[in-house]
Amino acid sequence: MKRFWILFRTELLAWRRDPITALGGIIPPSLILIAFSLLFGGRLSFNIAVVNHDAGHYGDILRDTFNEVISPLNDVPYYSVLDMAESEALAAYQSHEVDGVWVIPADFSARIESADNPKITMYFSNYIDDRAKNHRIYSSEILWAFYERIGMPEPPLGVEEEYPLPVMIDWVPIIAVGIALLSASLGSIFNMYALTYKEQISGVTLEFGLAPRSLFWVWTPKILLATIFGLISSTAFLVVVKLWLGFWPGRFLIAAWVLLGLVCLFWIGLAVVIGMHSRNYMAGALAVVLGAIIIFFIGGGMGLVRFHSEEVLKIAWLFPNTHAIDPLRDLILFHTWPIDWSRTLLTLISFAALSLTIGISMSSRGVRRSG
């Protein structure tokens, strides 16, 4: 045990020399969170121009309706409307300063009153099919609300909604939990590399290879420290999330740590294989780090997995992040115990055990063979 603490202390001091790498689980995720918050956390209304030529009053009512129809996403109107002259509006539309233009013709009110096929023209950009889709289906919301306001005959089918909870969670907190998991993964990976890099460039691996004792004493402090730093990174990141977005696991913190820690152990297992093989050391480091980032994107980092499991790529299920992400969201965002807690725990333990077993045995063999 004394030997363990000596090695543990030595490894701990390595961080002082390389603080940027030690913060590898905090710096990139924090900037990614800032970027996503600016992208999806602001007013997500579509900027459109409305050109109202209507001689009657229905054009004004329609214009007002835009401000009253609220999207559940961020609780803002679907459209942010600018009043412009037609030529100005179309010029702004061509240069993408506005995403669409609605033109209300002069006879709009007259045609409504005489039930003579009233018409509006909607110009919109469709360079991305998803944005074009939003224009089309948002226009339905506007029209529905407009019909209600002007007292059109009742619809054949009324529409109602039921939710399991009185509050909804916005997109940025959902992404933030994905980034917290990325933070744990990157924190553990970077710190494992920080703890093995010195050995690589100083040739200390040869000494490890010749050591008369079990290599268990070499790996254990490194794995423990990398896990601790993965957890510290993700916890520090969660503090940022708490201060910024107001979400914190609270009494579920330990459960969240368990999930995050098991994911860290999986990535450490991968990192340790490469960390002790000098030949392709940096290429391996690069591959593992970029791999973790890819898994963030394809493994539910940006949206719930549970309700879209069929759309998740098969390869993403080969990584623990995809299994851990929704249970983590349950704990952090909803403060509820995940319904699939036991299954998730067993899955993550299996991933971690497999990765560490393969990682340690392969790297031990490699070090013993070649130093």
Partner: protein, 359 residues
């Protein structure tokens, strides 16, 4: 002079053989990321669960659901009829059912999730289907929304996403390799050879930047080829596209080399270049033209080189916005010039002063 430059460049290219795995990852990782993400990018077509019942309105609703979509693209809903009763678990987060209990026929959307983005998406689609029924019942009193899309067909998200990743690929290819090679010069002390070399520092630095730039261009071309394979999308002018790759490669080369000169260690240089690569990408129009998002995002995006690279590529791939093409390219090269100036100053400060001190 030119011969020396070419010899130095040749030496830089020879370095490739010692770092093949690094090059392989830097060149192909963005293409791999694009290929995987291409399958998970949001699709306009959503599966909507509808509780099976004998009520006639349900049949009409399902028919309307099938009609909601783009006239020049995909359907927006795939109604799936399931056996479901109130109180049963909600399949896949959402179910639609017809309620006649109050004497009035309503369609109720019951959610099992509270993700506001998904709720919005499900709600809008159902409203669109129910509105179609309403429009039919109104007859000639119904308001027609005449749709005038900008392009003749709705373009798959993958095309935009891919073209916005091309500048990232060029940046990653140049910056990661640049950071790695330069930091290793310090770690293995080979930096002294450059300090003692009887050629100007400008020549040494420019060959390094040029060679990294070529790596970045190749990485961007590889991603462009993947985009072509997926969607048959090609830029209208290869020359302009290469200029974008050259500028982004140069910016990446400056960032990677500059960080490594400052930090002198591979891992920290990697952390910082990685962070800048992904921050520039997300903030530089990764998910849509910044003008479409407005607010703080658009304001910050003006300071990102990727924004101008994406604007230029957007014009080249979509054949629209040619007016802005020139100014976007000029802005991009201003960024590249600032990058070159920055790395030159760092080089002089780190290499020459360090060399003087050691001598």
């Amino acid at each position: 002079m030119m011969r020396r430059f070419l010899l130095l460049l040749l030496n830089e290219v020879k370095l490739l053989s010692t770092t093949l795995p690094i090059h392989f990852i830097a060149l192909f990782q963005p293409a791999l990321m694009f290929s995987l993400m291409a399958f998970v990018l949001i699709s306009p077509t959503f599966d909507i669960n509808v509780a099976r019942s004998g009520i006639p309105e349900q049949k009409y609703l399902v028919t309307m659901m099938e009609q909601v979509g783009s006239p020049v693209g995909d359907a927006y809903m795939r109604p799936i009829q399931v056996e479901w009763e109130q109180g049963d678990p909600i399949p896949r987060g959402q179910i639609v059912w017809i309620d006649t209990s109050s004497g009035k026929t309503t369609v109720t959307q019951t959610f099992g999730l509270i993700d506001s983005n998904m709720v919005k998406n499900f709600r809008n689609r159902l409203t669109s289907a129910a509105l179609l029924l309403w429009q039919k019942s109104l007859g000639s009193a119904a308001i027609e929304v005449e749709q005038v899309p900008q392009l003749p067909r709705d373009v798959s998200y993958r095309v935009y996403f891919g073209l916005a990743m091309i500048p990232l690929a060029a940046f990653i290819g140049a910056s990661f390799v640049g950071a790695f090679l330069t930091a290793q010069e310090f770690e293995f002390k080979t930096i002294t050879e450059y300090q003692l070399a009887p050629v100007s520092w400008g020549m040494i630095l420019s060959t390094r930047l040029l060679r990294l730039c070529i790596t970045g261009i190749i990485s961007g071309i590889i991603l462009g080829l993947f985009l072509y394979l997926f969607d048959r999308a090609l830029p209208s002018s290869l020359l302009f596209a290469l200029l974008v790759l050259f500028a982004m490669g140069l910016i990446g080369a400056c960032v990677g080399t500059g960080m490594a000169l400052l930090l002198r260690s591979t891992l920290p240089a990697f952390v910082t270049t990685l962070t800048s690569a992904f921050f520039f990408w997300i903030m530089g129009g990764a998910f849509g033209l910044p003008a479409g998002f407005g607010g703080a995002y658009e304001a910050v995006s003006r300071w990102m080189p990727n924004t101008y690279a994406v604007k230029t590529l957007y014009s080249l791939y979509y054949g629209v916005g040619e007016v802005e093409l020139g100014s976007a390219l000029v802005n991009l090269f201003i960024f590249a010039s600032i990058g070159c100036l920055g790395v030159m100053l760092i080089y002089i400060r780190v290499m020459l002063r360090r060399g003087e001190g050691e001598q």
